[in-house]
Amino acid sequence: MSHLTSIRRRHFLQLLGAAGAASLAGCAGPGSQESGRQTTAAALSSDASGSMIFSHWRAEDQQVFDDLLTTFAKTYPDISVTQDIAPSADYQASALQRLRSGDTGDAFPTFRGAQFNAFADAGVYADLGDLDLVGNYPDELAAIGRADDIQLAVPYQVVFLDPVVNLDLLDKAGVSEVPTDWDGYLAMLDALKGTGVVPFGWPGGDTGNLGQLVNTMVMNNAPSDDMFTQVGAGELKLTDDWFLKTLGQYAELAPYMQEGVTGTLHDTLLQRFAKGDVAIIASGSYAIAPARAAGAKFPVDLAPPVTVAADEARYVGVHNATFLLGVNSASENQDAAVAWVDFLSQPENASVYADATAQHVGVEGVTYGNADLKQLERWLTADTLLAPRFQLLDLDVQAAVDQSTVAVVRGTSPEQAAEEAQAIVDQQIG
């Protein structure tokens, strides 16, 4: 019996081994899946029809997209659109693989930066260059969605990654407007401190938000606008003077920040900002809508720190495209997808989206109904820099930059923090 068992086991293992080897030899290993081939998007047609899937991660926008789809159906009765919503992290991790098949995501968004670049490299975008909808975006914004001079996507939502100030508290501190030079900025923080509030709230324990401040801190300090591209390429170092100066200025801001700043999350800081305990929240304009939802009634404005003298400033703030809209090159419903993106790109529809989400849009000619959007509208035409932090395409390099600012606020010297960060950059870029 035991002999029989051992023979059976041996046969079984031999068969299993052979099957495993054969499977491995024939399995879909690296590179077995072909890259998508970039195509020119279908032309816009009023006769477009079919069922298309709009894949995205923006669950918070589901209702407004549903509302817009109701209007869309009146213009395009033969198109049915389904929203396929994945959590943000899942979308980041798996969207590309899913989109390449063309089975889902006839139209889709991507984050600016690493995700857009990866999708562009994989060829999942159809070329939108021949479509009129591109003309609805200012050229400098539309450029964000170009790769190798091909218009792959359009920047739909625009945010300002600048600190936001409670104007009532500013007024109470006797400051009429946000200063446009570094000394003036620190004097403003001193005046705010005198009123008993936290002058400058920074979510130093929140990796998703703490890095927004670096955008404005480097916008006038760096030797060029593509400073972080150059850091990623090894052409500039974090140990260079411009970044040491930036870190030194973080240290100057530290006394104005809240207790336990390096452990503070954005959500809790937001609650304190909404209650009027914190005068400035150093994240971005996307904080305004949740602050309103948390009960904030006071007027707000942007308060970007200009880190140089007023006459040396090249930029007064920073903007960014939160996401870009594209059409899938592998889609069999491209005409429907093009119709949907075109519809969203019309000012009257973009206006509905903007007011419902309380965020600006990249589309030109939009009339904003939301009071905060109106208040901040002038920043759309101000001298703002496209958020440079997203030039850092490697997450570890981005984290190294972010964590160097945290270290300085915690008390590490700028030199040491910069050296530690640069060591990680060197390791990552080889």
Binding site: I7, R8, H11, F12, L15, L16, A19, G20, S23, L24, C27, G29, P30, G31, Q33, E34, S35, A89, Q92, A93, L96, A114, A118, D121, A122, G204, G205, D206, T207, G208, Q258, E259, G260, V261, T262, G263, T264, L265, D267, T268, L269, Q271, R272, D394, L395, D396, A399, Q403, V406, R410, A423, I424, Q427
Partner: protein
Amino acid sequence: MSRPPRSASSWRAGLRRDLPYLLFVVPAVALYGYFFALPVLQSFQYATTDWDGVSATYETVGLDNLTRVLGDDSLFTNALTNNLWFLLTVVVVQTLMSLLLAVLLVRNTRPSTFLRALFFVPAILSSVSVAFVWSFMYEPGDGLLNQGWSAIGLDSMRSSYLGEPGMAIVYVGLVQAWAHIGQLMIIFIAGLQQIPAELYEAAELDGAGTWTRFRHITWPLIAPATTIVVSYTTIQSFKAFDLILGLSGNPPSASLDILSTRIYTTYSDSEFGYAAAQSIIFMIIIAAVTVMQRRALRLSQQEV
């Protein structure tokens, strides 16, 4: 003595005889092979490439990825160090606390049953919910812990918790332990209830005190339960991915980065081949730590 070599004809005859029996296990083996063995084998294949997870082309780099993990990657080393601290915190706190609760609540009385249910509640929460709850507990400004310290006049104990680079991973370890103590307490209670009461009665007659009875009866006889608890806790500590991301965001700060989050970040950075190499090392580390722990436990329970 080695077996004599078998001829090809006898091998074929054996195969003919065994084949009908082997067919019974084919469905199970096929499923296991396709959904488990094959992906694991593929990860070895990926680990020898520089594939970015997307491109149609890749280069074979041999063992370069593995040598990079073991030699030059300070981020991986940092994650490993954090993971070991996390493991130590969770294993010690979780095992001791769950054992203590099990000893206190082993009797099947109504209050014990109620308290067991109460301690078990965190185990049914998702890690994301646990992270959400504790992010507010650890909040330096108005968080419950700091408010508590201030309320009892111990302002010097106020901390930024997850913002303390040296201690952040320990604080996360305590959250992990909090969430799973009740679950492991149940395993210990099941183990304790298997111990014959006569042993305790005999020891009591011999004059053994509480500690002596625990050391010489309880501890050796709950060895199977302890092994399960420690092994489970170890593996769980290496895989505490969602709790870390929930408390820290993605990618986590350097002080909270553990091996699973490190691999995920590498994957997100489009270094699929390198992430596969990290996964292989990760698998070996878990296996090694688990084996070492089981041996240490066996020794400690044989000695008493």
